[in-house]
Symmetry: C2
Subunit: 352 residues, 2 copies
């Protein structure tokens, strides 16, 4: 955290602003929703990648954090976090070795969906005699990683029988209510086998509204809810008024209303789309950000009834906030026009 | 440049490999094509962002470099490059001040397409008494930045009449042959006004094949031709056998042939697509990389007749090489399996 700018008007563009009032409100709302259901909230830090923000989430009542990879977990462990979940199949001798080392100084929980993943992690943990907590992932509607109830039982038994591993429970992503029959089937299999399930970890922005329909959940992992984004608004998880992240951009060319060019392209706001648009321009909802190159955002202002001028500033609500964070070295925490904090994105762009 | 790994088998995944034989061949081919036409080649460094690679391009005969923003130019000027073009409208007091400072130690050429851009840069150059070389950009088929022939004439006159600016010529991107009538019209207007045009700078991978149809070009700016990518293959600029960049990835889940999961997602290979695929798996052309999350690549192996195993390695030819470079801290220059050089991506992720 350094302090170099007084107001947003001093910033170069593109810069990523975080509205602190909105962020704080978002932290409070998510914690309250979990508290009301008796579910622990475990913020996924991939959205912000900043220890200071995670600390604010813990102060509001969150339980531990989730990171998406070993390198992110290392950054947060160095920053003092001691309960870190990595809901991912950690594969490869170098990565499992680092994971096992990390588990010497923090409680580390991972997920697995196959025997080879268990074997790799077990060998690494045994080599340095640390303990890895391990959840089995059930395949969900997203059809990503995860396995079946019967296979989950077999994996849980294997974890229980392996030195230096602790069976920690089940993980689901996304934890939509529709997955409940599969979850209940798995829990019944585990109960019949006498295997206790300490944690049922759900996750996903879209699954927040389903939490009350899954009383088996003991914790919920969500990242995006701290900032929200156009994806969230489009899916009706939040409104634009809840979106705390905005990318401040300058008009660099404005020779025609239908090709107004911003200095923010795929290197600043990424290239994911909603309705063939690459971001939502907060000041001009009728403007369409219809194309990006690396350093150019193309905006059609035809429907706005005016053409902006070179040097004009706009603020873009990104389609997907997590990938924007990953592209920037700093986020600027602002209240109104005042910059209150400059955060280094500590876990930015780590690929391992 | 550091040397930590002996072979690619020692690398963690995802890692970005550059096949040095292919890269060297690509450097030679592009230089030869320009030499044959008497056109100077000015490599655009946005593709690699690495001074050592730019130096190899200059050694092969290239004239100066192109960067896409002031921050990239600063990195390359610090590395000793003294002829730097930034084909971009530089807008904003902080950026123009840095540009003007940069012009004290290197020859700096920018492009403009409107009077306000000229005014901002002129004020900055006058404040520190440096000289900025300035080209006027003609709007091309891409309908991005750029202006009309008549406006270009007016801007050229304005540049000529302004202290600390030097009118350097015309810029076109992309410089497809179809733009020639507009270019000729502009050149005629400038000639009639007695304004000499030292440089006509073309650019764009797709415009390479049109160079011979635009004899007015004095130089060509291209980035991607050093590595090529699936975009290039899809557009028939190159073949997969010319693609020097590959992202080495691991299989982390393989419970079903149609949802084999790699550890490379939008944070490693970005989220641009061709034919709804996010990358081309070199070893398994029939596999479809049909979806990415930040840390997950979803591959359908159904058409391959087999399902890979957890821990298996694949190499992905990315859709768009430039945005991949921007996501990584290192590129690994390899010959066969041997890692010959580890490059830090010096100008990675600079947003200003």
């Amino acid at each position: 955290m350094t302090m170099t700018f007084a107001t947003i008007h001093d910033l170069e563009t593109p810069s990523v602003l975080i509205d602190l009032d909105l962020m704080e409100a978002n932290i409070g709302v998510m914690q309250s929703r979990c508290d009301a259901l008796g579910i622990a909230f475990r913020p996924h830090i991939k959205t912000h990648k900043i220890p200071d923000i995670a600390r604010r989430q813990l102060e509001a009542g969150a339980k531990g954090i989730a990171c998406q990879k070993v390198s992110e977990a290392e950054v947060f462990a160095d920053a003092g976090f001691d309960d870190i979940q990595i809901p991912y199949n950690i594969v490869g001798a170098r990565k499992t070795r680092r994971l096992a080392e990390l588990a010497k100084s923090a409680k580390v929980t991972v997920t697995v969906d196959s025997q080879p993943v268990i074997d790799g992690i077990a060998a690494a943990a045994q080599a340095v005699d640390s303990t890895i907590h391990m959840m089995v992932e059930l395949v969900s509607l997203g059809q990503r990683t995860g396995t079946t109830p019967a296979a989950a039982l077999a994996l849980a038994k294997q974890i229980q029988a392996t030195d230096n591993l602790n069976f920690a429970g089940l993980m689901i992503y996304p934890s939509d209510a529709a997955i409940r029959p599969r979850l209940l089937e798995t829990l019944a299999l585990l109960e019949a086998a006498g295997i206790p399930v300490a944690t049922v970890s759900g996750g996903g922005s879209g699954a927040i509204s389903d939490m009350r329909l899954l009383p088996e959940l003991t914790e919920m992992r969500v990242g995006t809810c701290i900032f929200w984004d156009w994806n969230s608004v489009s899916a009706d998880y939040a409104g634009f008024d809840n979106c705390a992240m905005r990318v401040r951009a300058s008009v660099v060319s404005a020779n025609e209303p239908d090709r107004v060019i911003l200095d923010s392209g795929s290197k600043s706001i990424q290239s994911e789309t909603i309705d063939e648009q690459f971001g939502y321009i907060a000041e001009h909802p009728a403007a369409r950000l219809y194309k990006v190159n690396e350093e150019h955002g193309y905006v059609d202002f035809s429907a706005c009834g005016f053409t902006p001028s070179v040097g004009d500033i706009v603020h873009i609500i990104p389609v997907h906030t997590c990938v924007v964070t990953n592209l920037h070295n700093q986020l600027y925490g602002v209240r109104g026009d005042t910059i209150e904090v400059v955060w280094e994105v500590a876990a930015r762009g780590l690929v391992w």
